[in-house]
Amino acid sequence: MPSEWEPRILAFLCNWCSYAGADLAGVSRIQYPPNIRIIQVPCSGRINPFFLLRGLQNGADGVLVSGCHPGDCHYISGNLAARRKFALVKELLKYAGIEPERVQFTWVSASEGGRFAAIVEKVVEQIQKLGPNKKLVKSYER
């Protein structure tokens, strides 16, 4: 099975910067791995850590959150408030013995199609190395 296994990564992208950045990557025909499933959110500040854990529980091998760069938030400070939450999520998962690479946070602006592709490439590569998410995923077969 592992030979056929491809990581599935859930990506929460903010509407104003990162989603546009991903769009730009597409329009510019920049190649990046097809492993991500995008959920558009109004702002990275909308992300409740519960979303990330729920993604992992439901079988995502990794979760990526991307918002506007600090200082560029459409809502002035949504990403800055989110940054604190993200720091804690990352630390908590690491502490609990869950690979911290399973959840990743980044900033991508609307003009950074290349950066978006590079980030996805990096995240996919890291998760590929970790293998399937087994710790938090819920088995529906038991």
Partner: protein, 338 residues
């Protein structure tokens, strides 16, 4: 007369005066429970009943857990209109408890003008499980305090056993850095100086020093005993949500069973929701019927919040809660770069 007895006398006088002068309509304190090493919360509204008030080494309950309920307006608008005005409440609070009240005030869950905060000096409260364990095969029939603050226990064969207080106080008390109720309207007893105790940090550091897989094994070992009863949540003063996400059933987000995945998410989400809000009173772990180290994750969150943002919950009523604020230069070394 032990310190506790003196405090008890003062507490009764204070409550009696507050009730008699109608400064408060309700006084929250403790009364003797039927079993040793315990007290039960007391909702007192008659000044002539203050003799029921007790103060002893077993006043563990964080009474602030009752405050949001007393001030919560009914959701239904018509019921809200018909509801009686919020009560004025006097409440006996230890250092940790008062920190919870501060956090609740920060989050606008209680009304300062309706509260009379009676701070009480606390040398650490007894964890009944530790005390019971310390007695071995003996059953306690009664327990009290000796002149030096140690715990005197009458056991089933009629003999008396003395337990050293520091051997049987709750973990949260051993870890306590702020035993003094800093914010109060009335102070009873001489506040104990806060020790700059590193106990919680050391416990966290020990767990953190294990390799990743050993931490996961440790996490599972601790939480696989969880029976999903919700006692930790219900005992927590900061868990006042109208409907907790784990109770929502339209749809139900998380399974109510003991699948490790559901249990893990419950405790992870709870730790995150309490990050920057938990005042480390330890009510959750004392309530846990399975004796789980419920605060395993919470201790880590408290340390992180303090290290990253220099914030300790429950310090100042006018402080903005840490996760509702930010600084431009907050650390972001965790951010993924290409």
């Amino acid at each position: 007369m032990s310190d506790s007895q003196q405090i008890e006398t003062r507490l009764r006088e204070t409550a009696e005066k507050l009730l008699r002068e109608k400064k408060v309509s309700l006084f929250l304190g403790y009364e003797k429970a039927t079993l040793p090493f315990r007290t039960s919360p007391l909702f007192l509204s008659k000044p002539e009943e203050v003799e029921r008030l007790a103060w002893n080494p077993f006043c563990t309950t964080n009474l602030s857990v009752y405050l949001p309920r007393l001030f919560k307006a009914p959701v239904d608008a018509r019921a809200a209109k018909a509801a009686p005005p919020p009560p004025t409440v006097g409440v006996a609070l230890k250092g940790c408890d008062i920190r919870s009240v501060v956090a609740l005030l920060q989050e606008r869950q209680v009304r300062r003008e309706n509260l009379v905060l009676v701070g009480i000096a606390c040398p650490g409260m007894v964890d009944r499980r530790k005390a019971e364990k310390a007695l071995g095969d003996h059953q306690a029939l009664g327990a009290g305090e000796d002149g030096r603050g140690n715990i005197r226990v009458v056991v089933d064969d009629g003999t008396e056993i003395t337990l050293r207080r520091e051997d049987v106080v709750a973990d949260a008390c051993l870890e306590c850095r702020s035993p003094a109720p800093t914010i109060n309207d009335i102070m009873i007893g001489t506040p104990v100086e806060g020790k700059k105790t590193e106990t919680a940090r050391l416990r966290t550091a020990e767990f953190e020093s294990r390799p990743l897989e050993a931490r996961w094994a440790g996490f599972q070992e601790v939480f696989s005993r969880c029976i999903r009863c919700n006692a930790c949540r219900q005992a927590c003063p900061m868990c006042y949500c109208q409907t907790c996400i784990f109770d929502q059933n339209r749809p139900r987000w998380i399974g109510a069973g003991t699948d490790l995945s559901d249990v893990a998410i419950y405790h992870l989400v709870r730790a995150l929701h309490l990050a920057g809000r938990c005042t480390e009173c330890g009510a959750c772990e004392r309530a846990c019927p399975m004796g789980i180290d419920v605060r395993l994750l919470g201790r880590k969150m408290c340390a992180e919040v303090e290290d990253l943002y220099g914030y300790r919950p429950g310090e100042a009523i006018d402080a903005t809660p840490v996760l509702s604020s930010f600084a431009m230069d907050d650390p972001q070394d965790f951010v993924t770069e290409p």
